[in-house]
Amino acid sequence: MNELSWFVVRRLFQGLVVVLTVTAIVFVVTRLIGDPVAIMLPLDATEAQRETLRRALGLDQPVYLQFIDFLRSLFALDFGESYWQHRPNIDIIRERLPATFQLVGAGMLLAVVLALPLGTVAAMYPGRLPDRITSALSLVGLSVPLFWLGLILIYVFAAQLRILPSSGPGTFVHLVLPAVTLALPSAGRLAMLVRSSLIDELNAPYVKTAVAKGLPLWRILGVHTYVNAAVPTLTMIGWEVTRSLAGHTIIVETVFAWPGLGLAAIQAIQREDLLLLQAIVFVVALMVVVINLALDLVYKFIDPRISV
């Protein structure tokens, strides 16, 4: 096996450890803080009614037995049945994944499309007006709370101007507001990073040489500096995608009634649907690991000097 294959195997193994650790933590925490039976039954249900349901759900078993059971079914890719929807969790996840992918895909694409030109302009005129405007915008973008931003966008574009739908999935126009909401804070952070990495590169001796040689600006940027600035930028994009999947989508999907995995997670928490929550966490953790692995391979591709 060559070096690269070893690398992939090693990272996959590390990833598996990460996924299992995260799942185990969620498993223990959810069982410590809540009792699904108490939530599922009416407030004045009797102890006998609760006991019956507890047994039916297998919650009367000791926690370690439940965990072993849970691991065993995970390896069989069986995520159990949702307490809340009374159907297999895998079906729910399969239904919800496309919406989340759409949202994160569109949101991150938009973030990159916004951040690259903004960051570049700022880097070319450091300390001058374009830079100040870009930095101010980025700062606003990365510091607004997503929740508030989403509601404001809905209020302006749906309730007042009536040019976009307020919520829900459906057509491409339904995707616009949630994707913009998800994109703006990420675009703010990305633009700042593109700016600072480009400034570093633009001050490097090779750029001065290139300028002295009379190379046109687009060539200096496109062929040299962007490629060199790509590694930190890609790291940041990977990080933004991860944050979106594992956190921001929960907020954005809730505000926009967007039926993705994040909304399912919050619904599972509200209903103490432990098995569904575990399944979602497992899937999200898996995605994060895969994204990181993919990024590592891309680095290697961009810059062969990076040792794996």
């Binding site: 803080i33 108490a38 989403g150 809905i154 307020s166 829900g168 505000v255 619904q267 103490e272």
Partner: protein, 495 residues
Amino acid sequence: MNAFTGGVRAIVVVGLLAMAPALAQAQSVTMAISSEPSTLDPQKTMDGGERRVNDNVFEALLSRNADSELAPGLAIELPKRIDDTTWQFKLRQGVKFHNGELFNADAVVHSVTRIFSPEYKSTVLGDLTGIKGAEKVDDHTVNIKTTRLDTLLPARMYWLKIVPMKGSEDPSFASKPVGTGPYRVTEWVRGNYVQLERNPDYWGPKPQIEKARYRFVSEGGTALAGLIAGEFDFVDNLQAEFARQAPQVARRQGLEHSFSAISTENPATKDKRVRQALNYAVDKEALAESLFMGFAKPARGQMIGDKSFGFNDALKPWPYDPAKARALLKEAGAEGSTIEYVVPASRWPKSKEMGEAIAGYWQAVGLKTDLKVLEFSQFLVRLRDRKVRPDVIFSSHNNALMEAERTVQVFYQSIDKATSSSIVDAKADQLVAAAGNEPDNARRKAIYNELMQRGYDEAWFLFLLNTDDVYGLSKRMTWKPRLDNKVFLSEMTVK
């Protein structure tokens, strides 16, 4: 073109023109509800989203009229009690389920058997406790048997939706339900909407609205924006803060009563005067105004409303009188003592804010409050703990059967007999038991009244608010909310 096809075309064109006004009148509405149904099987689970949809798709043997009184539904008249444990229902004839199955005694027996079957694991049996089973007498007569004398059986049957024998055994029933109601489910796109269409073969009057789409919007601000934008005609559970911005608001005094149970056993609250002082100290009017924007009223010294059987009309809201509270505390020698107050952070609207305000009121009359705002599941642990009761614990009660029985069984009995009580009182236990065995309505009402009076005099509770049900409506919608919080499309009209 020959004369024949020309004639056909003419007929088609004329026909289409004739249909045009009818098409224009086809009314459809979009309803924003706060959660997606977890299932559309009406017998499985306690689920607000499911209920919003299925109340239009399924029917029960009995209904309630505009005054919230029990009325015929799939039964043609109110049932008769033919012996202590048997109620007889006469069924409506010629009613069909959406799949063509006939509604008859077999369907009723099946519905009752199904919901109680242990393998089915229904979690909605709470209000149906005491039903033993159903027996077919003939095709259109059914006897419902109860385990003991049960005067509430008719009210319980309002909550038991009738499902078809064959249709309900189909695995797709939970996603494509089949009922007898004025609307049928045509499509459920998970995560997006449930689509209903008027049932053309409905046995009752034809409702105006032809199509309804239920969307699931959990965030109140988003639902309000959709209402303002004209995307929604109805928003469930509109937050009081948003009422002023909504195009139209529908409100009605509901069945929800917030209160707090005060322990009669804990040292801090053992003295009746302290419990009374806790009531005198709190300005209920102010809580209703500032926290609920006026969409609530101080409760009238009990946890059931004036339309419920057993309501004690003599009781008035507990007056706000901080001076009296201070005097009572002084008399009891309880000045400066510490009261533990357990409040849930969620589940009931504004519970946390109410808890904080009340702690402030108690502070103002010279008490210290050990306020514990807990996550709901942690709160439940305290609520269920039979051994260590908090001095005071927040709760809220919604008696959907509209008779005091459940209220007194849960809250007005001693700790060892009830699921959520904080009192010990032999007299109360005796009264609750007597009410359960009393078939005579007047005498039973007298017992409930006595219990309510006793709960008030002994200050077993801090009586708080009776909150309104609030809904947002589009400008074109005409609808009056119901006391029981059911939302029937058949009662709505749009312009």
